[in-house]
Symmetry: C2
Subunit: 266 residues, 2 copies
């Protein structure tokens, strides 16, 4: 169940790595874990994982993010209702909302008579989303180092106003995504998912033309079949349909909504 | 030089952790490393680190990011000229540009007759920035696991048109940030930077009112003094000034520029 670096690489890329770097095996075998054992995750461990998250890089040390842990059952139900009724939101031992946060800095700046008007710009919206994502992924790496499993919940963006109400978020905050955390139920059900070949993602010196996708389309078609997902499509077909304008699940409101909250205004 | 979990926690938060979780020490002691030893970083190791980056979560497996390694000296000079002349851009053994990338998916979708019109929405701009950031931070955790050091370069956003020219980026791509990579020069010069107390970042159930900042302002004032940075300001004052509208270093163009590239249009 615990795959080596070489085995993880094979599952990820369909070939052998050029070098065995087994120290990186835990970072290679990430998957989204949706089924958790009943074993509790002590609060002290969560504090350590959040301490790692806080240690992630943050532009100019502004720390433009926050995290909210949601353990109340009724509140979890409300969140699940927004987020496609994903069962792991109800069942995970811990649930977190990751927030791009200008509110705390506005409060701190106001205490010194500073107006912090730059926060109106797209630049700082991007910066706070990046801060939240860097912190979250270091959280994930820390959790996985300890043997915990996680699942990101992008569907928190399905209804930003409702999430704002549920979490009592002030203006100048935006919940980018949620995250479930717990010990994976054994045996782990979720497979390592194949990714694009490295030559389709890593370019040298300048952006590459003629990006090789066909090889990956074939690998993913086989993966969908093995997972009993629709096997008659390729990654290109599936992904192209995912980003047509009929599958926005409420998120088409994000641009005006962010503006109304003081983000991305100019 | 290699701090334990407990020592890292003390430097980060000015107090002892409630539990010693020494497995997480490498993730807690992140700092931005700007001075690298001459020891080369083999390409096979870089490939493994990028393999870890590719293993990060990505919404709906869309993989809306790319990375470009830049080793050419003249190209590094051009990048440094955009990015505040930061010397580590010239000197790092490896330099990478992390790119939010809709181009590859548009190409893949077009090959199946899909228009991928949803990519116009802010939702997918946010998603690709998050994808790039999650991949980058897993890259960083992998690099640091191996003893490598990194430095993010947010100043790539100072002049997006010029970076587009230097890296030959197509429309529907956006360089979110750069990254330097190498073995840290010993002894490591950069200190672990104190962060906000956990009670100012981690809220329970709902967003917290009365966020405690004063304790951190005092800790950071002492840190600035010890670092021979201006010691007469607090974190709140310094950060408030950082986000006024006079320090955008060219980034005030980002909103219209992103629109012109096909991002964040509606």
């Amino acid at each position: 169940m615990v795959e080596s670096f070489v085995e993880s690489w094979r599952q990820r890329f369909g070939e052998n790595p050029s070098e065995d770097v087994n120290e990186l095996a835990p970072l290679l075998r990430h998957r989204c874990v949706r089924s958790y054992s009943a074993k509790p995750v002590p609060e002290e461990l969560v504090a350590a994982v959040i301490g790692a998250a806080q240690s992630a890089a943050t532009s100019s040390n502004l720390q433009l993010w926050s995290v909210i842990s949601v353990q109340d059952k009724a509140r979890r139900e409300e969140i699940a209702a927004v987020a496609d009724d994903q069962y792991q939101i109800r069942n995970a031992p811990w649930f977190f909302a990751f927030v791009a946060d200008h509110h705390r800095l506005l409060q701190a700046a106001a205490s010194c008579g500073e107006k912090a008007e730059g926060l109106d710009y797209a630049e700082f919206f991007i910066m706070s989303v990046i801060d939240a994502a860097l912190a979250a992924e270091r959280f994930v790496c820390a959790a996985e180092t300890l043997g915990l499993g996680i699942c990101y919940i992008g569907a928190m963006r399905n209804d930003p106003s409702e999430i704002k109400r549920i979490l009592d978020l002030p203006d100048h905050t935006f919940c980018c995504f949620g995250m479930c955390l717990g010990w994976p139920e054994e045996p782990i059900k979720e497979h390592i998912k194949p990714r694009l070949g490295q030559e389709a993602v890593w370019f040298r010196e300048t952006y590459g033309l003629n990006i090789p996708i066909e090889e990956y389309d074939a690998r993913m078609k086989a993966f969908y079949e093995s997972e009993k997902m629709r096997g008659d499509v390729t990654w290109s077909m599936r992904s192209g349909r995912r980003v047509d304008n009929h599958h926005l699940t409420g998120r088409e409101v994000l641009k005006p909504w962010l503006d109304s909250q003081g983000f991305n205004k100019r």
